[in-house]
């Protein structure tokens, strides 16, 4: 456990490592030193040990200045949690907290794999301590501070989101989810394609639970349409949720983007979801019958909640369809078309629809509903905002194009083509 045995074999003790961390001013050197100072399995043990003086290194190091060392020691300690004594463990929550809020991001990026390790370690640590929710706050800090900006995807994202969803603490994920991911940098963390899929799938679930349907739809769609040579199971699951979210939001499904794998769409066709989607929107009783038939599968796949919400929304879509056909209708007539018997219930639905601005109309004393054309209203501010957005967007695209134009691969290709043309014209 202590460093005594290690020094006999010519291996550095934690004290040696500690001096390196604190005295070497060149961070890059520290990084490479930490990576290579001892064989793999021994390294973790050394890092997880205490200093020769019996002091805990984590109390001595400054998480901001010595981010790298702190990161290595902390992740090693979290990793070998079972072997450490309870006294040493007691300070870990504070250390995690301190590191997450104070660490120096550029320094941490030199050891991307350790950051992933740390993220997983934090989750495991709090789980072992029977307080899994405790991991949310430090992870949230870590996720938001580690990447250069929030548009980057890191390995921490899926870890964090998975935690939020399993702990049903969806709101915590919102600050992260509200920034769409547009950048991927493999040097930032060693990403696997699953990280992207899991992040967007779990993000979709979190947003769906918060009833932010539009964002949820986008997240599921990204998961479904992720580049793939063969469909992944998680993509099919996301696809099922995607169509249900679309039914809730629009009353119909929207074709996935063209670049979605055709095999995935075929697979969805073979599931009971297809029947439900085809029948939607119908009278509530009809939909219930369809669902009852496949209840087990829906329940097993944990989609019954979404399906129930979709069914609850079905009358809304039916009424909306009626507004396209009729100018005036009695409440009883509407009830008949929608399959709801009590006029009071129909009145309630219509009132809530008018309130939420889904339809434009009025109910008169004798129960006649008059539908008016929806009048789209646009304020000047709205338009201005749209324009600013558009400009911002085009600036971004321009930047990307410039980047591409300056990239090595592009230039080589262009030069090659020019060269070939030249040669051909000479011949």
């Amino acid at each position: 456990m202590s460093a005594a045995g290690a020094s006999g074999h010519g291996l550095p003790s934690l004290d040696d490592v500690f001096t390196q961390i604190t005295t070497n001013p060149n961070v890059a050197n520290v990084a490479s030193y930490l990576k290579t100072f001892a064989p793999r399995e021994v390294r973790e043990t050394i890092l997880a040990s205490a200093l020769g003086s019996g002091q805990d290194p984590l109390t001595v190091l400054d998480p901001h200045r010595n981010t790298l060392g702190y990161l290595y020691i902390l992740s090693a300690r979290l990793h070998s949690i079972s072997t450490a004594n309870p006294v040493a463990n007691a300070i870990l929550p504070d250390a995690i907290e301190a590191f997450a809020s104070k660490f120096n991001p550029p320094q941490a990026r030199l050891a991307a794999d350790r950051v992933t390790l740390l993220g997983k370690g934090i989750v495991r640590f709090y789980e072992a301590a029977h307080n899994p929710r405790g991991a949310i706050a430090p992870l949230s800090n870590l996720v938001q501070r580690y990447p250069p900006n929030l548009s980057y995807l890191t390995t921490l994202h899926p870890i964090f989101l998975r935690l939020c969803v399993t702990q049903r603490y969806f709101a915590a994920a919102l600050p992260v989810l509200s920034h769409p991911i547009t950048s991927v940098d493999p040097s930032l963390s060693d990403l696997h394609y699953n990280d992207n899929l899991v992040y967007h799938y779990a993000g979709g679930i979190a947003l769906g639970s918060l009833k932010r349907w539009q964002q949820a739809e986008e997240f599921f769609e990204i998961c479904v349409s992720a580049p793939a040579q063969v469909p992944a199971a998680i993509q099919l699951e996301a696809f099922k949720k995607l169509v249900l979210v679309q039914l809730i939001q629009y009353g119909e499904t929207i074709a996935p983007p063209k670049y979605t794998l055709p095999a995935l769409q075929r697979q969805l066709k073979n599931t009971p979801y297809n029947n439900f989607v085809k029948a939607y929107p119908a009278e509530v009783s009809t939909l219930r019958q369809i669902v009852a038939k496949e209840q087990e599968i829906f329940n097993q796949e944990k989609n019954l909640g979404l399906i129930n919400q979709a069914i609850d929304r079905a009358p809304v879509w039916l009424i909306k369809k009626l507004t396209a056909t009729y100018l005036t209708l009695g409440l009883a007539d509407i009830g008949k078309e929608v399959g709801i018997n009590s006029p009071e219930e129909v009145r309630e639905i219509i009132l809530s629809m008018i309130d939420s601005g889904e339809i434009n109309g009025s109910i008169s004393q004798d129960g006649t509903v008059t539908f008016a054309d929806p009048v789209p209203q646009f304020s000047k501010d709205q338009l201005d905002k749209m324009l600013v957005d558009a400009q911002e967007h085009s600036r971004l695209l321009n930047e990307i194009e410039r980047h591409l134009n300056a990239s090595k691969e592009y230039l080589t290709k262009v030069c090659l083509i020019r060269f070939c043309r030249c040669m051909m014209s000479l011949c």
């Binding site: 969803v165 399993t166 049903r168 769409p180 991911i181 547009t182 991927v184 940098d185 493999p186 990403l191 696997h192 394609y193 699953n194 990280d195 992207n196 899929l197 899991v198 779990a202 679930i205 769906g208 639970s209 986008e218 990204i222 349409s225 992720a226 580049p227 793939a228 040579q229 063969v230 469909p231 992944a232 199971a233 998680i234 993509q235 099919l236 699951e237 983007p257 095999a263 697979q267 944990k302 019954l304 909640g305 129930n308 919400q309 369809k321 396209a324 056909t325 009729y326 100018l327 005036t328 209708l329 009695g330 539908f371 054309d373 009048v375 789209p376 646009f378 709205q382 957005d389 967007h393």
Partner: protein
Amino acid sequence: MDIDIIDDEMTQAYTHRAIGKRPRVPVDDAHPFELETYISSYSGRTYVDRLIHIMSICPTLAPQAFQLAIREAQKGRDTTLYRSIFQAYDRAHADAPDEIPEGSSIATVDHKWLEETNAKNQAERTKLEVELKTYTSNMIKESIRMAHRDLGVFYRSVGEQAASLKHYTKSREFCTTSQHVLDMCLSVLELLMEQRSYSHIGTYVFKAEAALDSATSVRQAAHQAPEAPAGSAQATRERRSAERERVQSKLDVATAISHLGQSNYEKAAQAFLKVGPLKGLEEWSGKLIAPGDIAIYATLCALATFSRPQIKSQVLDNDNFGVYIEQEPYVRELLEAYINNRFKTVLESLDRYSTRHYIDVHLAPHVLNLTNLIRSKALVQYFQPFASIKLERMSQAFGWSVDELEQQVVQLIQAGEIKARVDRQNKILKAKETDQRAALFAKAIKNGQAMQAANRKLLLRMRLQQADLVVKPPKGQGMGGGMMDIAAMTGMTGMHHPSSYMSGDYY
């Protein structure tokens, strides 16, 4: 191989026809129909076929049709057909035992004739088959072809269509000139039209056209070889085009009927309207189709699918087609009423002559569809110039009750054919007004947002691809597999089934 498939489908078509029950068609003052005049324009097999069809859908005419059919059938030698007449009548009688007398009181099966004809048929078949065998062993191509052809004709006359088709198609292998191929194709087409197997007609029309092309070009070459003077070359060309036209009309009719049979009404109308002059049909007229039929088919299909100017220019002002319209005077009335917006008259006369339409073998399955199409087109056209109209007035113009009309209109609105909305309380149909400016704004904003979202997603996708974060098949499983095994996939990535860590439903 080709033949087998056709056979299967044919038997299917037959059984289907036997099972499918037709609606009963009335014949009374409101729906006048003269069986004698109708059937007199046909001859041969279709005469009997049509009568059988009439028996099955129109019990009132059954006894009369029964007698006519028996008389005609005994002229031929098809004993199965003869028997099926009796069966058809019995069925009709079973459906409506009170209205018509029993079959035995009208006519009885002539067993003597049956036996004699059967024996004769048997003898002839043996003779033809022996001939074929001899020719085959002698390897005389032309004779083999003729033997096959004769057998085809024979089987057709005794009602064994499958065997007939087999011999016709076999004879193709032994055809030496394209004229022979053409003859074979035409025979097969006749057979197919008789059997109403519409989906195969197209193939043979195509083959026939190819044969026709090469036949004419060969003949042209043959004629020009013995240094013919310029004048005679001109004459041959004329003769050639006349010949071509003759066959072409037949092919057009066949194509049109196949389109009709497959519910391609617009194409059917166009093909019918292309059919050349009456004499081009030669023996087909009457044997397969009456000129009046062409007029009716074409008119109904055109009314159901063409726009008004199209109807005017292609149907009414078509001199060639006028000849056919002459055959059925009410068709012209129908067309003129439609052009003049007298929709009530149109619908009334459609109803009045519905018996005539249902009784037709080719048209019967499509009458309902066509009538519906014509009706909705009429409604759409009627409403076009109005901004709003009382349902009552509209219902008068069409001769319906207000409720009936409302139902129709609502259907059309939901199908997107009429851009209007119904005021159920005041019974008014109002055209939709859109505020173009607002609509444009809404559309622009929506598109803008969609564009930005799409760009964002594509950007991410591009980045993912650059970083090679692409879902790949599990190692050890080749790309050829295509469909992946979900278990293997999740196993490899070390992931649980995605739902397993999503604790419970979120609702």
